[in-house]
Symmetry: C2
Subunit: 432 residues, 2 copies
């Protein structure tokens, strides 16, 4: 098929970037794909004036265009986008999308429809922008039982934590700058509360473990409560705080969780700073591998969108069953390993509490932890500031089941000698 | 086609690892591939006793076996391996190989033969072991004009440089340990002189830039002359010394070079330690991306071999022209950009020289550099050791064309006040 004709729906940042990259690198891309890739139809609500390209303000006109082979969905959201994609699939179009929410929340339904029609649905751009992480896990590591993966998959959150560490700034201050720089939305909830990261993590977990997409089972905890104090103590203990998405398969099920995490500073992923993304994947044969790059932005995301277009263009002659499966595993090879609730997950913990400056407090706290079967790996206790009768007590624990830690924390908070809540950050060694 | 039958030639470390991974993860792999992958014939000179598998001591019997679809070449070397692969191709078999020397030195001929017969030749395991770097560049970054790439692609060399830095040990001492640990061969030339890295770099450059494989044009310089002194001065200047393979396309041609390189310590790749490998790739759309993992070893390499087998198994129904091209670009899209000789390459430089401890020497040296259009970015000059009349003078230069630096160095060495040769290490900022 030459040329392969595509329709792009949505002409925002990523849509424009995709058009630009296809235009600028057209010759190079054709040299790899073995065919010319032509944008023959654009759907944009506000219209656009691009010479030689049919532009519709009704994006569904693109899904109905008999000329196009591939519909590229870049409008975002999960309502209109879902209708658009399903209509295009019904019309026999292949789909390329950058829409993480759409895939994480409605992917199972979309893949079922696509499978029925024998068309491809490609979504490399939905996770970690330009990093070819879907391809790496789905194809590059296909020999492996994936044991776990851990990713910095939200650039805004990583920018905030990096600034807090490097410049000692506080959360609100950096968030405001991130918004001014355009890294964070006016409503930053999706980024800082971990919802965006959870969307991506759910997709990665499915292709790693052969399980259906289960966004509703993901545990998410944001970074809004991380204080500069915690960032500094982490540093003293030889750790960095990152907002990680972690998926791990253990004997009981699959852990699927996004939360602030302390990582030993000597790990490569602990040194991924600013808006950059990275995903660490541990396979049983290959060991740990890491993938790093820009997780967002017009052209990095377009890089992944166009790579998907080239992949689909190449496979236009392949029978559907010989293509790479949507979620890495063939339909009949998917499994129903359960997603574990967060209270059954085991990690180590950083605990910070405000303790009365008198003898015996540490011993009370240690006793509670010990009764819960939790040992203490490290302690920092500072002199009280002038005029203060409470001191910061920082404890690094051994690995413990979250529900045991919850109980111990409740008991610690009930002590007269402890003021307020215990701050807690999960610790992962991420050792190969 | 179910099952897909493969023949493995060579039952050394990687051959055994491949058999083990295929056996252990067989169900998982079939779940991804959509077909069972069965080892139906093994070629091993010394024979082997594996139940249910036909074993030939004549490896060419595998190439002639009408049953097998894919021949997996893991015998190494470039003479018998080449004959074996060409014979299998003539018989219509698809090829998977981990043999970097074979592809770098004879790839053009092998791909021509394979193209004629319409079969696949897959070689992910030939570069950086288990890291899916070929797939990342060839497919994951297919939207990009690749501007440059730089890789730590020899684990032995990286182990030696890491030990020298972390423990202040000298080269010969660490090399001996690497040999005892089995990281380095009894004849370590291939590793420490950069030949192994050059094989891999040549392959990466071809798939990045669409040029034929040109091993004979690669510049290689080993790490045998790196002293603990240089490692320490690099540290003081905020750098790490790594044995990098660098391929860069500029207006005049393609730089293709392996040499010790100073990299700012804040770069992620500067923190890749021990036997681990990493490749940093800069695309015009995606920006810098990095791929990290084990570059050697039985199962990491097997991970890549098996991923290639799965890829080939999946494409058995695709018409040859719709498969991923051997070198990323279609045959008629390859270009003849020349490989640049090393003296036309531009980098910055670290220079270390032994200077007489008297006034005016620094000014003489600075004058020579200035005359060659080279400026000085940083200087370290130490007090002479007791009883010494010479001091170490360390200069970090601006970027300069190598032949200009060569001339300046000659002039500096000719100065009466400079003793011996000027030690020189290229410096790359590797900024995105």
């Amino acid at each position: 098929m030459n040329p392969v004709k595509i329709g792009i729906c949505g002409l925002g940042t990523v849509g424009k970037g995709t058009f630009d990259v296809l235009t600028r690198n057209g010759e190079e891309i054709a040299g790899r794909a073995g065919c010319n890739i032509v944008v023959s139809h654009i759907g944009a609500r506000r219209g656009a004036d691009i010479s030689g390209v049919n532009v519709s303000t009704d994006i569904f006109a693109v899904a109905d265009d008999p000329e196009i082979h591939i519909l590229v969905e870049l409008i975002g959201g999960t309502t209109v986008a879902k209708d658009l994609v399903l209509q295009a699939i019904a019309n026999g179009k292949h789909i390329v999308t950058a829409n993480k929410a759409l895939i994480a929340e409605h992917g199972n339904e979309i893949f079922a429809a696509a499978s029925e029609k024998g068309v491809s649905v490609a979504f490399e751009a939905a996770v970690a922008g330009g990093i070819p992480i879907i391809k790496a896990i789905r194809e590059g590591l296909s020999a492996n039982r994936i044991e776990w993966l851990a990713g910095i998959i939200n650039g805004t959150g990583n920018f905030i934590l990096t600034e807090m560490r490097e410049k000692g700034r506080d959360f609100d201050d950096v968030l405001k700058e991130a918004q001014e720089l355009g890294y964070a939305e006016a409503d930053p909830t999706f980024d800082v509360e971990g919802i965006d990261a959870a969307h991506k993590l759910v997709i990665l977990a499915s292709i790693a473990f052969g399980i259906p997409l289960q966004f509703d089972k993901a545990y998410t905890e944001g970074i809004t409560k991380i204080s500069t104090e915690d960032v500094e103590y982490a540093e003293q203990l030889g750790y960095r705080i990152k907002h990680l998405g972690v998926a791990r398969k253990n004997g009981k099920g699959v852990e699927l969780r996004v939360h602030p995490t302390m990582i030993p500073e000597k790990r490569l992923i602990a040194n991924v700073n600013g808006v950059m993304n990275a995903v660490l994947v541990k396979g049983d044969a290959v060991g740990p591998t890491l993938y790093y790059g820009a997780g967002a932005g017009a052209e990095p995301t377009a890089s992944a969108v166009v790579a998907d277009i080239v992949d689909v263009a190449r496979t236009l002659s392949a029978e559907p069953k010989h293509r790479v499966p949507y979620l890495a595993f063939q339909n009949d090879a998917m499994n129903d390993t359960p997603i574990l609730p967060i209270d059954e997950v085991e990690t180590a913990y950083y605990l910070r509490m405000s303790a009365e400056d008198k003898p015996g407090v540490l011993s009370e706290v240690a006793q509670i932890l010990s009764n819960a079967g939790i040992s203490i790996e490290a302690i920092i206790q500072k002199e009280p500031a002038e005029g203060q009768d409470h001191v910061s007590l920082i404890i690094l624990t051994s690995r413990a089941i979250e529900k045991n830690l919850d109980q111990a924390t409740d008991s610690i908070e009930a002590l007269d000698s402890i003021a307020g809540e215990v701050t807690r950050i999960r610790v992962e060694s991420l050792a190969g």
